[in-house]
């Protein structure tokens, strides 16, 4: 294997390890940080099942955003389509790391492709809305734009690879399959593909240390995930005994 391939194989493993290690560290950290008091945002469900039903629409439909005004509706459109298309795009990528490719992955190929087209537009909404009013201008930070443009870069290089500067898919698949089966293979020498991979690696490395943790957030957020039963069940955290 040439140097470039070695570098990219190492990059991929490093990124994956940091991602998994970082996330595990974060999850353990949150689990080990107690919630000393009952602080569900009420009205809140009284049982754990109820909490599941409170969280499901949040995760699937971003329900809270629909409670807000026009700005939140725009955010909803951008945010929801962004997340859904990301999901299908990732799903579509499974074909690179499985052999033979399972039927359900094949089944979503077309949806995945449509999602890839939608993806940059959803991101554009998310970028533009940061300029829509003076409040957004005040609160937006460099890192907020950073992630958005990073994702946009990943999406656009993906589209270029698909339509304009096609790489040999057999080589791509060999590389990716090599990664997951721990039998490294040469990386395709397509500049756009390499950029695509680098950007994705940056995103994955950045994930556990950034606001991207919000993916977990809603599940762990005491205001949304706690039950409302303080009179019936005594809730005590270790340090607060």
């Amino acid at each position: 294997m040439d140097t470039l391939s070695i570098v990219f194989n190492l990059l991929a493993y490093a990124a994956a390890s940091i991602f998994i290690g970082g996330l595990l560290y974060r999850i353990v950290q949150y689990f080990n940080t107690p919630s000393p008091l009952k602080i569900p945002g009420t009205p809140a469900p009284k049982t754990s099942i109820g909490v599941v039903f409170r969280l499901l629409p949040e995760i699937l439909f971003f329900r809270t955003l629909l409670r807000g005004g026009v700005a939140e509706k725009i955010l909803w459109v951008g945010g929801w389509f962004f997340h859904v298309s990301l999901f299908f795009i990732l799903f579509r990528h499974v074909r690179f790391v499985t052999y033979p490719v399972p039927g359900f992955v094949m089944a979503v190929q077309q949806i995945g492709l449509a999602a890839a087209h939608l993806f940059p537009f959803a991101l554009l909404i998310l970028i533009v809305r940061r300029f829509l009013n003076d409040r957004m201008a005040v609160i937006s930070l460099f890192q907020d734009y950073f992630v958005l443009f990073l994702l946009l870069g990943i999406g656009l290089t993906g589209i270029i690879l698909k339509y304009f500067l096609r790489t040999n898919l057999v080589d791509v698949k060999a590389f990716m399959l090599g990664l997951v089966t721990l039998s490294p293979a040469p990386v395709p020498h397509s500049p756009v593909f390499l950029i695509h991979v680098i950007l994705a690696a940056i995103l994955v490395i950045y994930f556990p240390f950034s606001k991207l943790l919000h993916a977990w957030g809603v599940l762990m957020s005491p205001t949304r995930a706690q039950t409302d039963n303080p009179r019936e069940v005594r809730h005590v955290a270790p340090w607060a005994k």
Partner: protein
Amino acid sequence: MAGKVEAPVLGGKIEIPKVQYGASKDQRVIPAKPDLMQKLNFPSERPPDWRERFLEKMAEVIKKYRSVRLFLDICVRCGACTDKCHFFIGTGDPRNMPVYRQEMMRSVYRRYFTTGGKLFRKLAGAEDLTEQMLEQWATYYYQCSGCRRCSVFCPYGIDTAEITYAAREIMDSIGIGSKYTLEIINKAETIGNNLGLTEPALRNTLDFVEEEIKENTGADVKLPLNVEGADILLVTPSADFFATPHIESLTGYAKVFHQAGVSWTLSSYASEAANFGLFVGNYAHMKAINKRIWDMARQLKVKRVIIGECGHAWRVLYSFSNTLNGPFDFLDSRYKVPQHICEFTLDLAKKRAFKFDKSANDNFTVTFHDSCNVARGSRMGDTPGDQFTMPRELINLTCNKFFDMPEGTIKEKTFCCGAGGGLLTDELIDLRLKAAVTRMQAYKDVKEKHNVNFLALICAICKAQFTKILPYYKYDMEEVGGVHQLISNAIVLGAKEGV
């Protein structure tokens, strides 16, 4: 602030203002004096190594509270909360946008607790802990009433109140505290109530209320104090003993108990339901204040504990009490522990224990202000949301004319009165006026549509705040009062049906 304090002009619609940097930077609480700080086990003044101590305390808070750690990490700055806080709507100061209020703590967190912030500083949104930063904390973490409205609209339920209270706890730990809030905590812990009323003073007011009732109705309604062996211990905010219109609700509770034929008592040792320990994020003080109630319940050998009209008091007693000082296995488990006075009254009213003469309230057209700590931080009854329906049911049982304020300003989305969370202090009057503008706009709306002339509520702080600010808005201060004031007017004494 120089010059005259004036209320904003009401247009009848809630408008989101343009951002105005520093618009409310001069609205600050008076700092607590060294001896007061010391009494409450805080350093008497800011030590030379305050930065280290500040960061140590911050590390401790982050370690102890999942809410704080998680909220610091996961905010995506989506902006959904930016126009939801009455302090922002009232002042236009961007630091009063919930997310930007949190950013004060978050930027320090990034700088000292995250790798990215340590490495990339400003680029990563990290800020040094400077004098100016501390000054911003001391200003804007005292311009939040902990009302949790922002949390309702945040996709992750981020509750700025958690951050605000944590920030106050951190500031207290380096000797920077609010005179108003800490004085009250001190009084509650030493005398037993926020107003510093002693037992004889308390007995005096209770005698006065008894005489008033006798004069107005001819009935011998008693307000017992420190009676061992009574069935019920009633704990109310101490303002109920002293302030107007609060005392009208106290009259209401007494009439309800009298008519229900139950034995009950107040306590001078536990003569305060409010718990300002919450407002400074201090677990130990919150627990100590709360403990007085349960110690007294044990000592007086009561079977039930009932809580009077107060928003945050109910939140602490409903949501935290069991954690702080439970389990309450010495009380009668057939009843809720503790029980809200509205739960008690409505339960018996539904069993037809009372006769109400609604016409007694015919000069009132009533609307209801959902106090935020009840609405978003607790519950009444058995079903989530009963905290909205139960007080309204009580109003409808005792009044002929009731109209709700517009959607989006009531129930879960209710706007705070503008003075909760330890801001009910004179030096903040200008801020309080501006923060009340959202509620006042909604009130004006129902006034114009339905000729409403009475703002009913179940919170002592809200009552005090509205009584103070209504005149600035050119409304009569007597337009505000408790739900049990309406009950007091309508309940027919002596006449008994059912039960």
